[in-house]
Structures are given as structure tokens and as C-alpha cells.
């Protein structure tokens, strides 16, 4: 009897502690997400309320005015389409060509792989603003300024060393006997690569593809320099709410929210691969 009572009170104490921990955690989570929640809330305020001198978290009156004005100001579909096209095409090109190159580097056992490691690490350290002008000059000379092709090629090139580095790490663990077996069965080199090697290194492909996708989608500085009217990406368009129209916060909150929502969802879903991508090149296995 007595014993049971002690047990029960201990359980209750544990229960209270659990609730406390969860409440505090929920508070931390909300506090941390506050900037993003506030952005979303603000996009549904009226244009007066967005720039009210006594701002509130919740919209005093619900309104889609900012969203409507965003669509009036910007060819949203076109710029989002540009961003998406650039991100997808750059991802496709850099992952395919990068993994192909990496395969030949790994299987040729040359010193190139060591050079590649150094190159990748160095590239991670170059301020993009410093190579942006030489890149700009090259793009002008090729006559592809303000085209989506230019953005795709630049994004693909910039991210390729990363892809190669990640993929080299995966190929190293695939025994050469696997290639040989496929060859003996009569498969050509390209078929071997596509049908045998790539499927085995799928996690590496996913990791590098996700990273190129995020990096190209989030790119700002090259979009700023290499595009003007036709190929403008959405990130550049958002930033223009600050410069060209003065400070038009209303539609800007809508645009910023729209632009980052898919990223948020995708990064929650793909956390495992993101960890691998971040640590690639930094942790030697």
C-alpha cells in the first residue's frame, strides 16, 4: 500500500517533469522559428499593417493584398520558372558529368584524385564575388549574357568539384571486381557505369544532387550579375524590392515566403543526406 503510493507519486513527478521538458522544448522551437513565422504572418497583413509603427505578430486583419501586389509587380511565374529551370538543369548536368568524371578519376588510380581534393577544398574558400567578374567577362564573350543557359552552365561548373569529391568517396568503396564482372558480361564502359556503378552509389548521387539543387536555387550573386530581364532568377527579383522600389516590405514578405517554403519542406525531408553533404570533404573516412 505504502509502497504503491511512493511509486505513484514518483510517477507523477516524472510526468510533471516530462510535461515541463516538452513545454520548454516547444517554446524554444517556436522562438527559433519566429522569424519565419513572422514573415509568413506579415505576408497576410494589409499593406498598412506591414509597415505599422506598432507591429504585431498576428495580422490585425487578414488580407492577400501583398500577394496580389507581388503578382502585379513581378512576373512571378517566369522568375520562379527561371530559378527552377536553372536549379534542375544545373543539378542534372553537374551530377551526371561530375559523377562520370569522378568515376574516371577514381578508376585511373592517378594522383588526380589528390589534386581534386585540394581543389575542392580551395573552391569552398573562394569568395564568389571575386570570381564573378571574370565569369561575367567569359559569359559576355560567349554571347550568352542574360540567358538561362549561362546560369545553368555557371552553376553546374561551380558545384561540380563538390559532386566529384562526394562521388569519389563512394566509388572508392565499390570493388573494381564489380566493373570487371559487368565487362565480362559484355557491357560497354558507359553501360557499366550507368547500370552498375550509379545504382550502387545512389546515396552519393542523392546527397550531391540535393546540394547542387539548394545551392543553385539559393544563388544570388551570379543571378545578380549574369541576368537582367529574360533570365532573372527569383532571388534577384526579391532583392529588388529593396533597391528599385524603395523599401516595399509588403510584397517582399510574400515573395520571400514563397521562395523559401519549398526549401524548408525539402530540408526537413532530406536531413540525412544533408548531414552527409556537409561533412563530405571535411571528415576523412
Amino acid at each position: 500500500m505504502n509502497n504503491a503510493n511512493i511509486h505513484r507519486s514518483r510517477l507523477r513527478k516524472k510526468g510533471i517533469q516530462d510535461v515541463l521538458v516538452i513545454l520548454v522544448s516547444a517554446f524554444i522551437t517556436l522562438a527559433f522559428l519566429f522569424p519565419y513565422i513572422y514573415l509568413g504572418m506579415s505576408s497576410f497583413k494589409t499593406s498598412q499593417d506591414v509597415i505599422s509603427v506598432t507591429p504585431t505578430l498576428l495580422p490585425p486583419g487578414f488580407s492577400v493584398e501583398n500577394w496580389v501586389r507581388m503578382f502585379e509587380r513581378l512576373p512571378v511565374g517566369k522568375y520562379l520558372g527561371n530559378s527552377l529551370f536553372v536549379a534542375l538543369a544545373a543539378t542534372g548536368i553537374s551530377v551526371f558529368l561530375g559523377s562520370l568524371s569522378a568515376y574516371s578519376i577514381d578508376r585511373s588510380n592517378s594522383k588526380v584524385s589528390r589534386f581534386l581534393l585540394v581543389l575542392t577544398l580551395c573552391l569552398k574558400m573562394i569568395p564568389l564575388s571575386s570570381i564573378s567578374v571574370p565569369v561575367y567577362n567569359i559569359v559576355i564573350r560567349l554571347g550568352i549574357y542574360d540567358t538561362r543557359i549561362a546560369m545553368v552552365m555557371v552553376m553546374a561548373a561551380i558545384n561540380m568539384p563538390f559532386v566529384m569529391w562526394v562521388m569519389c568517396g563512394y566509388y572508392r568503396n565499390i570493388p573494381v571486381s564489380l566493373d570487371e564482372a559487368a565487362c565480362v558480361d559484355g557491357a560497354g564502359s558507359l553501360t557499366t557505369f550507368l547500370r552498375v556503378i550509379l545504382p550502387v552509389s545512389l546515396p552519393g548521387i542523392i546527397t550531391s544532387a540535393l546540394f547542387v539543387l539548394f545551392c543553385s536555387w539559393n544563388d544570388f550573386i551570379f543571378g545578380l550579375l549574369l541576368t537582367s530581364v529574360n533570365a532573372k532568377t527569383f532571388s534577384v527579383a526579391i532583392s529588388e524590392f529593396i533597391t528599385a522600389y524603395g523599401l516595399d516590405f509588403g510584397p517582399m514578405t510574400a515573395a520571400a515566403f514563397l521562395f523559401s517554403f519549398p526549401v524548408l519542406i525539402l530540408s526537413v525531408l532530406a536531413q540525412r543526406y544533408i548531414v552527409q553533404g556537409f561533412t563530405a570533404g571535411a571528415i576523412k573516412e
Binding site: V21, I22, S25, I28, T29, P35, S42, V53, T54, P55, T56, S94, L97, G98, L100, S101, S104, R107, L121, K124, M125, P127, S129, S130, I131, S132, V133, P134, N137, I138, M153, A157, I158, M160, P161, M164, D179, E180, S189, F193, F214, N218, F220, I221, I238, S239, I242, T253, A256, S260, V263, L264, L266, V268, Q271, I274, V275, A282, I283, K284
Partner: protein
């Protein structure tokens, strides 16, 4: 016998290599070369000046300030991120069911565009209609919302940019630490608990020492990335007011685009990149040799 011929391997290698050569190695080479020249306003090389650009760089206070700013920015942002990210990882690493959901939520800004982050914080820190100052007034910390001009006051501009950086990248530190914590041997913590170690002792004596490699890795990645920040500052202050928040990447961009001093900008970039590479190589060599030693020990 080689089953894949040398020729095929080269064929595989070339397409990717051409891309990198054209849009990456060529620009980098041009950057190094340009740092030894002066330029006309039209952007063509004028004169070979040896190391004059480098001398200008190290003797003009206007160009030294961004280096100092960058160091301050990196130190503040990265140290706060490390502490906050590690704390959050430890706090959220317990196994309540609802925790896992919250953990995913809190990690969601992980890959958000820096330009968007800058915009959000610019909006929140605005002196006229920012919610941060309004909250401070409501709490009685400020008298009126214009008491702190986060973005327009040279004392606060750089710090404000740090806030945005900290918010954006704390999830990254948290993610790395969570990965580290989940790979820890649970018996070790169990043993510490049985020996009567309290929560704090478990954290400082068991968890953190065992995460050393991950902490150092995250630190090295973050230092390099924070040093290169461009988008956040561009969205928030564009380096102003009066160069108070100008980081090297911003100075390079302005020197290139607005002043057309390509030689000087290139020299700046070369110095900057050299410092970062030196830092990273020294840091990572120590890290890797440390790992190698540990593996040796385990094998014995």
C-alpha cells in the same frame, strides 16, 4: 589487363573537366593574374604593376577595416552558433516522441537562402516598423522604438548581420552535433549515469569530449563559410553605414563593380583566399592526424 581503356576514361573525364576549366579554373587564374595589373575604366588591363596592388591593400585603412570587420563577424557569429547549436542538440537529443517532430521543425531553416534570411532580419530589425524594437519597448527595455537603430547605427550594424547569420546556421551546428551524439556509445552514458554523474557532468565530461572531432569539423566549415558571407550583408546593410558592416566579400564586389578597380579587387581576393586556405589546411591536417592517431590506438 585494364578492362576500361585509358581512352574511355579520358572520354569520361573530359566533359566535366571542360565545364570546370571554362567557368571555374579560368576565372581563378584570371583573378591571380589580374592582381598584378591596373585597369582602365573600360575594364581592360592598363599596366603591369608588380605588387603595387598588394601594397595599396595593406597600407590603406579603407581596405584594412573590412578585414577587421570580417574577423569580428566570424568570431561573434561562429562562437554563438557553436554554443547555441550544441546546447540545442543536447537538449533535443532525448527520445521523447514529440521531440523528434520539434527537432525536424527547428532544423528547417537549414538550407534557407541567405538573401531571404537577410531580408527577414532587415524587416524585423527595422527601426520604424520592426517587431524587435517594438517587443523591447513592450518589455520596458527601450523607451521608444527609435532608441536603437540596428541597421543605421555603425555600432550595431555588424552585430545585426551576425544575428541573421546565427539564426541561419545554428541549425547546421545542431544537425552536426545531433549526428555526433547519436553515434556515441550509449553504454558510456549509461555507465556515467550509474556512477552518479549528474546531467551537467554527463555533458561536459562525457558527451563534449567525445564530440571533439565533430566540433572541430563544424568549426572549420563554419569559419570559412562565415568569412565568405555576402548575401546576408548585401540584403541588410550593403556594408553600411560608413563601412561599419563591410566584409571583405562586399568590399571586393564594390571595388569591382562600382569602382572598376579589378586589379585591387583581385589582389584582395587572392590575399583573402590564401588566408582561408592556410587556415583550413592547418586546421584539417591537425584534425586528420588526430583521427589517425585515435584509430591507431583503437587498433592496438
Amino acid at each position: 589487363m585494364r578492362l576500361i581503356s585509358r581512352r574511355t576514361l579520358i572520354l569520361f573525364f573530359i566533359p566535366g573537366a571542360v565545364f570546370m576549366l571554362l567557368f571555374l579554373l579560368l576565372p581563378i587564374g584570371k583573378m591571380v593574374l589580374d592582381s598584378f595589373f591596373t585597369f582602365t575604366r573600360m575594364g581592360s588591363r592598363e599596366e603591369f604593376v608588380w605588387f603595387d596592388n598588394y601594397v595599396t591593400l595593406f597600407t590603406t585603412s579603407k581596405y584594412i577595416k573590412p578585414f577587421v570587420n570580417t574577423v569580428i563577424y566570424v568570431v561573434i557569429s561562429v562562437s554563438v552558433e557553436m554554443v547555441l547549436g550544441t546546447f540545442l542538440a543536447i537538449w533535443f537529443s532525448n527520445s521523447y516522441r514529440s521531440m523528434r517532430f520539434m527537432r525536424s521543425l527547428i532544423l528547417s531553416p537549414l538550407m534557407m537562402a541567405p538573401i531571404v534570411t537577410g531580408i527577414i532580419w532587415r524587416f524585423m530589425l527595422s527601426a520604424q516598423f520592426g517587431i524587435v524594437n517594438q517587443t523591447l519597448v513592450n518589455l520596458g527595455i527601450l523607451n521608444k522604438t527609435s532608441d536603437i537603430l540596428w541597421l543605421a547605427d555603425p555600432k550595431f550594424a555588424l552585430l545585426s548581420c551576425c544575428f541573421a547569420d546565427i539564426w541561419l546556421t545554428t541549425p547546421f551546428i545542431m544537425l552536426m552535433m545531433l549526428a555526433g551524439i547519436s553515434s556515441l556509445d550509449s553504454n558510456m552514458l549509461e555507465a556515467a549515469r550509474i556512477d552518479g554523474a549528474n546531467k551537467l557532468q554527463q555533458v561536459f565530461r562525457v558527451i563534449l569530449p567525445n564530440l571533439k572531432t565533430i566540433i572541430l569539423t563544424a568549426l572549420s566549415i563554419r569559419v570559412v563559410d562565415a568569412a565568405r558571407s555576402f548575401d546576408i550583408i548585401w540584403a541588410m546593410t550593403q556594408g553600411g553605414p560608413n563601412y561599419a558592416s563591410e566584409l571583405i566579400s562586399i568590399t571586393i564586389y564594390k571595388t569591382l563593380i562600382k569602382n572598376h578597380q579589378e586589379g585591387l579587387a583581385s589582389a584582395m581576393a587572392v590575399v583573402f583566399v590564401s588566408i582561408l586556405i592556410a587556415f583550413a589546411l592547418i586546421f584539417m591536417r591537425n584534425l586528420w592526424s588526430g583521427q589517425a592517431v585515435r584509430k591507431e590506438r583503437v587498433r592496438k
